[in-house]
């Protein structure tokens, strides 16, 4: 079963989290990326995420499997939204369970960084001025 998912509908973090918890878990780290009302000094009205679905699912699953191999964690999941999102909606969620917090934090950070850097998903922002733009950053922050 894959640990990475693309979702066309809002992400239910409570259910995702519940899937990661069991009696061995001592630390659970999670990260959520939300649609901000501004980016690079411009007012953002909303955005759209587009993915190359087949490759995004394969590359996302690879990132999650790497995290499970590199860090002493029990399990991990990541979900990324695609389609239209409004300000304040959740764009991406990462959850990691581990016996100890060091590994949970490290794996959570690894997953969000690698997903942002490698998984073929693109953000299209609509601005208050009426224009819109595909984001193709030179390098990932």
């Amino acid at each position: 079963m894959s640990r990475f998912f693309l979702a066309q509908t809002p992400i239910d973090t409570a259910t995702l989290r519940a899937d990661l918890l069991d009696d061995r878990v001592g630390g659970y780290a999670s990260f959520e990326g939300w649609v901000r009302n501004h980016n690079d000094g411009r007012d953002v009205l909303g955005l759209r995420y587009e993915a190359y679905v087949a490759l995004a699912e394969a590359e996302g699953a690879k990132v999650l499997d790497e995290a499970c191999g590199k860090f002493d964690i029990l399990d991990a999941r990541c979900v990324h939204r695609i389609g239209d999102l409004v300000i304040g909606e959740m764009a991406v969620w990462v959850g990691v369970s581990a016996a100890h917090r060091d590994a949970a934090f490290a794996a959570c950070r690894y997953i969000i960084d690698e997903v942002k850097a490698r998984v073929p998903i693109w953000k299209h922002e609509r601005y208050a001025e009426g224009d819109a733009n595909w984001l193709h950053p030179d390098s990932k922050p």
Binding site: G33, Y52, L55, K116, R118, V119, W122, H136
Partner: protein, 79 residues
């Protein structure tokens, strides 16, 4: 000449005016992108893209295989 399907995403799709097209070409994937960049006026140089064949990342100097599905991957911006 090899006939392939090319997929476009994000700004490449906007510039091409289509999400996919069938093209005929010779040579490697780099040559294919050069040809299509000239045809569609893509702003992004090959150095800023990755390329995938049949759903897996590939190398620019791989030969184009007839019947394959080729995707040019602009810099990603998920998250």
């Amino acid at each position: 000449m090899a006939q392939v399907t090319v997929l476009y995403f994000a700004s490449l799709r906007d510039a091409a005016g289509t999400a996919s097209e069938t093209v005929e070409c010779d040579g490697d994937l780099r040559a294919l992108y050069s040809m299509l960049r000239e045809r569609h006026g893509f702003a992004l140089p090959v150095e800023r893209l990755r390329v995938a064949v049949d759903g897996a990342f590939a190398r620019w100097n791989d030969e184009v295989r007839a019947g394959s599905e080729i995707a040019f991957i602009p810099p990603v911006s998920g998250g």
